[in-house]
Symmetry: C2
Subunit: 482 residues, 2 copies
């Protein structure tokens, strides 16, 4: 007969043993969740950062993409040039096969004519700087109308079907300055640009003028995509700078009559065939399981598409270049994909996902960089609970590299369709690189999105973080993640 003390001791020992077993079972399944990085992973991530910061080529790649090619809207000759450049640059790494995946893209052009003016109280026209929104119809000659200002669609709806008949509808809701994340503030103002023309026309308006989506108080119109609705008459739509938006708003508040005129030659032409550029590096253990990393090669037709998304393109290329330079052989097949047409259709992302589904390819993970080239801060994760936990377990280790912010959220527009097209159980673990968001919209879709506004070290830190993430995802055991 044991006394109670001896019994307690034995019990404690047993409890310890049971706890150990539970830990062992847990660790076996998802070592990463408990332990963070292994020593080998830590060494590899340090080497990745050392290589990219010391001899990375992404900044020089970006210079070439921005300065030798420049803006590259889907359907343009420059987009063709960028596709060729992307293929050559990926081929020059010397690992895996590079191919072009045909994608049908829209072909919208701004045209030669793009001017605007405003008249206050019937006075002489003053020049007004605008940028036609991507996809807008032209004006078919000068179009001038009185301005009616709205902050949201509800205010417009309250006026009824012909509430703004004959007017130029001006949507002037700023991005919310109180939101910490600038991307969230963009999301909250986005519909003015994407649906403003439809809402204006539905209430009798002759055109839509949209406040640029940026926190910056600047004189640059920031363009971007807009859509029409087959049920609603098409009216032209253009962005004005935040400085001009403030001025017009003040005049209207002061009771002045403001008329805005525009003459835009933009038009939609026949679709064109362009391509996603795909570099494929066969996996040593799971050649028929894919990890994709990419961004989008197309940009808007103003600026140079440096942050959006030249940065993501050159960072994605750097992933393969770096892993190859370090003598790494991926376990899963690694694909770098330079998607086309994210800005006005996402046909690159959709086509890629459709082809992957047709071929029954299991994409275990998909990673995107399309939030600019500023200092990386972490990653957004769009995945199952177990996969999210596996990635989040790396948080402490990533904090040492300045990228410890890990949140659930959308990972990227280009890889988005992969989630939709794949059957349940075969949806990829999706991760998006998340840089500092505060400056991104200062540049976004404007003449300011140029190479000079990308910081070399910050771009490289992003490339190193992206490469580290792809490496770590390649180390995961996807049979144990649901």
């Amino acid at each position: 007969m044991m006394d109670s003390k001896a019994m307690c001791n034995r019990l404690v020992i047993r409890l310890g043993w049971v706890f150990g077993l539970l830990c062992a079972i847990s660790i076996q399944g998802e070592a990463q969740e408990e332990a963070g990085w292994s020593k080998r992973d830590s060494v590899m991530v340090a080497e990745i950062h050392g290589h990219v910061l010391g001899s990375g080529q992404c900044y020089e790649d970006l210079r070439v993409l921005c300065k030798d090619i420049g803006a590259r809207l889907s359907g343009s000759d420059e987009a063709d040039d960028a596709i060729l450049w992307g293929g050559q640059t990926l081929s020059s790494i010397g690992v895996g096969a590079v191919r072009m995946q045909p994608v049908v893209v829209p072909h919208w052009q701004r045209g030669e004519t793009e001017k605007a003016w405003m008249r206050v109280d019937g006075g002489a026209p003053e020049p007004l700087r605008i940028s036609a929104l991507g996809g807008s119809i032209g004006t078919d000659g000068p179009l001038e109308a009185e301005v009616a200002m709205f902050k949201n669609f509800d205010a417009l709806d309250s006026l009824g079907a012909e509430g703004v008949a004959g007017k130029m509808v001006f949507f002037n809701r700023p991005m919310d300055p109180l939101m910490i994340n600038a991307g969230s503030a963009y999301g909250g103002a986005y519909e003015q640009r994407s649906k403003g023309a439809v809402e204006a026309a539905a209430h009798g308006g002759v055109g839509a003028l949209v406040r640029s989506l940026t926190h910056a108080l600047d004189t640059f119109p920031h363009t971007g995509g807009m859509r029409y609705d087959d049920e609603v008459r098409k009216v032209p739509s253009a962005a004005v700078s935040t400085v001009d938006a403030r001025r017009i708003a003040q005049l209207l508040k002061d009771g002045r009559e403001v008329r805005v005129g525009m003459d835009m030659g933009c038009a939609l032409f026949d679709d064109k065939s362009q391509a996603n550029v795909i570099a494929e590096w066969k996996g040593t253990e799971f050649p028929d399981r894919y990890i994709v990393v990419g961004g989008h090669l197309d940009s808007w037709d103003i600026g140079e598409g440096a942050h959006d998304d030249g940065a993501g393109i050159v960072q994605s290329i750097e992933v393969m270049r770096t892993l190859h330079a370090l003598g790494y052989a991926p376990r899963h097949t690694l694909r770098v994909v330079l998607f086309i047409n994210e800005e006005n259709g996402n046909n690159g992302g959709k086509t890629y996902a459709l082809r992957a589904r047709e071929r029954g390819e299991w994409h275990v993970a998909a990673v995107e960089s399309d939030a600019g080239g500023d200092a990386p801060r972490g990653f957004s994760i769009d995945a199952s609970d177990s996969a999210t936990a596996a990635v989040r377990s790396w948080r402490e280790d990533f904090t040492g590299y300045g990228v410890g912010e890990m949140r659930r959220g959308g990972a990227g527009v280009d890889i988005g369709p992969l989630k939709k097209e794949m059957p349940a159980g075969k949806r990829p673990l999706m991760v998006g690189l998340r840089p500092n968001s505060q400056r991104y919209f200062d540049y976004h879709h404007s003449d300011r999105d140029i190479f000079e506004n990308v910081h070399e070290r910050e771009l490289k830190l992003g490339a190193a973080a992206l490469t580290s993430m792809v490496y770590l995802l390649d180390q995961l055991d996807y049979d144990t993640l649901d």
Copy 2:
């Protein structure tokens, strides 16, 4: 007699009770460690961010400080102007008393003459842009000598006492590009600037030329402080840009003879009396316990001292303005201190600490912002284990505001002496705001440190983070922290 199963159950219950008790004890002592922010704290921090982002004045304050006053080296008339401005600005908040605390500061001046040139293989002189290091003696007329290049002091030591007799010693160790944190890279190259002249002279050199401490490859010399040693002959010392440093290094590697000449009129004049500006807001519960928040009002004499440390000054002022605007009454006495003379002596910080010790003031916490106005990422903590744990318990909550990085480390130069002067047990919990470090040294101590290179939203986010930290520190119970 209990059977073993019943005994186990009782034991488990007891263990649970003991565990609960331990938790309760722990929570009682340091509620923050377990619970993060209270609901009231969360509301307050949200209000602070809303107020600063929506109606903060720190960016406009910075414009005035940079554009109306500009560079403000200790001892200069501009530093006097800045002290007056600081006092007026703090007074205008309308809470508490503002006073000037006299501080004796060195008075070094660059002088009218500052030029340099280089000759390659005895050719004609080419202009070379330099910036005398702060504290350097002048050259007393032109001084030209052959350049001898070194990456570290060991290499110089290996040549012996007269190893560089008659030479211009060129220290060309770059900031390590492989370090993730730019501040750490600065720390690793700093001694070249601070001790280069002493080391050069100790080996027979006639002057020291120092590669600018920046990751940027630019044409701006970045100045900064240097020190002499009473035992070693004084020789003049100046910074060259990283672009010029590369060029000189390449010439020397190619076996060319490079001579550098300089003519510098800089000199040290008699000490002057200037002041720390102190605004004091009496605490409601602990009027004789102090929380200090500040930065330094002086700057180098080139650029505008926008990031270093105009940002910290206007953010510290914003702390008091914001808490007052929100109707808050601090529990502890809150002092905003605009320290003088951080850059070349730290006499402001030393004087403040000495006076505090003389008066027996218990500074429960000290907070500094002196790492630039870029996007805030977190805080460094210099405190006891229990105090560090209390602050680190806020990490998850702060992550929502983008400032979740919490590391132990130095909190700031100005508040540093408080730690040294205070008796054990009365040392303040010290916290430093930590913004993104990647761009800071691009501007640091150069003509590029101007208002235009500070981002309004990022500056305001830093001010809101700083205000939130001060508020939360005011909520702590310092009798329970060791």
